[in-house]
């Protein structure tokens, strides 16, 4: 049972039931005691009247002075009875009629009290004592029906049970309401976390109840830490690549030396390894350059990013192509925000367009489609394109189509990496409109890939 609401409800039910039981035990016990004490004191008074009405006649026989008793002792089965037991005679109140009470003789001065069954299903409280009057010893028992008292006690129990149930229901309702209200900020936090995932906000609002604030603070702290760590590791890779540039060019120069050239095996090997290192470094540098700016966000807004990217590409290729051969870069994208890692997508588009620009005669076209969780990207150019055979080889892992044009193969390798991370698809074919190579990429974001 991992619900705070249920735990609170259980706690409340248990405590209310316990409290009500205690209260019921106290109140019902008190009512019964007061009632019995009241009946008992009345019985004692009635016993006094019977005692005063008792007379011993000249034959030494106990008699009741007529007219001294209240009429309640005359009405049959009225619920008020008395009995006088002496050695030679037993006197009954008229209310007992033809019934009797089970009373044993008591010695003088002894008083007893007990419950017993009376006529007509009555429950009687009997008060009895041993007395002596005018030389005659006798036992007097006075009894009263407790049924009205017991009935009202039963009625009270029902009222009390009803009231307890009502109280419980009302309290549960109030608690439900309070808990709902108390947890509303959590729903807000959930909403914010979703926004966080979409990159719309950088951190969670700390305007929350004191109980959850530490949690929110920790999450914010963690976000900050993660962002910093990611940035640092990217920077570190970039820095390393930069730092290796010097020693690497030195190595290349070494390879050019006469002494090394004299050993063709060694020279070829050296060149192959330095080239490989060079390519890896280029890849890291490019990655660092493309990703360098900006905090880690999982939000890619093409309308914001594409103009900058296109501008960078135009500038990169302007010098190489010269004024007479300008490059036309067209792009088309919906005005939405894709829930993808900005850096991944920039790297993907950047590499594909870099390749396209490299091979294009005049035209490069880039088109983005989809919704926030799905991204379809098509980059095509009017360059020479690839033969079916080449395409087949390109799609195979780790194959570079043009070793002589540095960066091309690596660019595709990075693209493949990104596509693999997202479990997407990469298709290469001939552009039907521009005639060159067309690269199509389909990606689903991680939320869709994952549990959702």
């Amino acid at each position: 049972m991992n619900s705070v609401q249920q735990r609170l409800q259980l706690g409340l039910v248990a405590s209310v039931v316990l409290l009500m039981l205690l209260l019921w035990w106290l109140v019902a016990g008190a009512i019964e005691k007061f009632g019995e004490e009241f009946v008992q004191s009345r019985l004692e008074h009635d016993a006094d009247s019977v005692l005063s009405a008792l007379q011993v006649d000249e034959n030494g026989v106990l008699q009741l002075t007529p007219g001294r008793m209240t009429s309640i002792y005359k009405q049959p089965f009225s619920g008020h009875y008395f009995m006088v037991l002496s050695d030679d005679k037993t006197l009954y109140s008229r209310s007992l009629w033809d019934e009797s009470l089970v009373v044993s003789k008591l010695p003088k001065g002894v008083i007893r009290q007990w419950n017993t069954q009376g006529p007509a299903g009555q429950t009687l409280l009997v008060w009895a004592g041993g007395f002596q009057k005018q030389g005659q010893r006798f036992t007097l028992a006075v009894a009263e029906d407790l049924t009205p008292l017991l009935e009202s006690l039963v009625r009270f129990n029902w009222y009390f049970a009803g009231l307890s149930l009502l109280t419980l229901i009302v309290l549960l309702g109030v608690q439900h309401y309070v808990v709902r209200r108390a947890f509303r900020p959590l729903e807000q936090i959930l909403h914010e976390v979703k926004n966080l995932q979409q990159g719309a906000v950088g951190e969670l609002s700390e305007d929350v109840p004191a109980e959850v604030r530490p949690l929110v603070r920790e999450v914010n702290h963690l976000l900050h830490l993660l962002g910093e760590r990611l940035q640092r590791s990217r920077n570190a890779l970039g820095n390393l690549a930069h730092a290796l540039k010097g020693p690497l060019s030195l190595l290349s120069q070494l390879g050019q030396q006469e002494r090394v050239r004299a050993l063709p095996d060694l020279s070829a090997n050296l060149k192959q390894q330095t080239d490989s290192i060079q390519q890896l470094m280029d890849r890291e540098l490019k990655r660092a350059r493309l990703m360098g700016q900006g905090a880690p966000g999982v939000r890619f807004a093409p309308q914001e990013e594409m103009p900058v990217l296109v501008d960078v590409l135009q500038r990169m290729f302007a010098a190489a192509r010269g004024q007479e051969n300008p490059l036309n870069i067209h792009w088309q994208a919906p005005d939405i925000v894709f829930i993808f890692d900005r850096d991944d997508i920039l790297e993907l588009i950047g590499n594909l367009m870099d390749n396209a620009c490299k091979w294009a005669k005049h035209q490069v076209h880039c088109e983005l489609q989809g919704d926030e969780h799905h991204l379809q990207l098509v980059v095509e150019d009017d360059g020479p394109g690839c033969s079916d055979d080449e395409i087949k080889r390109l799609t195979a892992r780790g194959v570079r189509i043009d070793e002589a044009a540095p960066g091309h193969g690596l660019g595709l390798a990075i693209v493949r990496d990104v596509v693999e991370i997202y479990g997407g698809t990469l298709t290469l074919d001939q552009s039907s409109t521009l005639g060159g190579l067309r690269v199509s990429v389909c990606l689903k974001n991680r939320a869709v890939n994952g549990s959702e």
Partner: protein, 102 residues
């Protein structure tokens, strides 16, 4: 001796006189005796029969003797505030008469 008897009788009579309500005070003693002899049914049974016939509260019971028969007269007050009189044969518990007291 004869005088004494008269005095005792007179005393008894005067006692009887004082006990005029006492005469009806005696009826329960008689009922107890008759019940013990098995000549009449216990009142509890009669009242049960009366209440089955006419729900209400018993406010008075009398045991009478008419034509050699013991008759229980039970007065019941019902919820409508009416008082009913029911007559039972005390020996058999048979209902003899059932009437409203107006």
């Amino acid at each position: 001796m004869r005088r004494l008897l008269v005095v005792v009788l007179l005393m008894g009579l005067s006692g009887l006189f004082v006990l005029t309500p006492g005469l009806s005070d005696e009826d329960h003693q008689q009922a107890r005796r008759l019940k013990e002899l098995g000549e009449i049914l216990p009142l509890e049974k009669i009242i049960k029969a009366a209440k089955a016939r006419q729900p209400g509260r018993v406010i008075e019971v009398e045991l009478e003797k008419k034509d050699g028969r013991h008759i229980y007269e039970v007065e019941l007050l019902n919820m409508q505030g009416e008082i009913w009189e029911l007559y039972f044969d005390a020996a058999t518990g048979e209902l003899i008469k059932h009437e409203r007291e107006d």
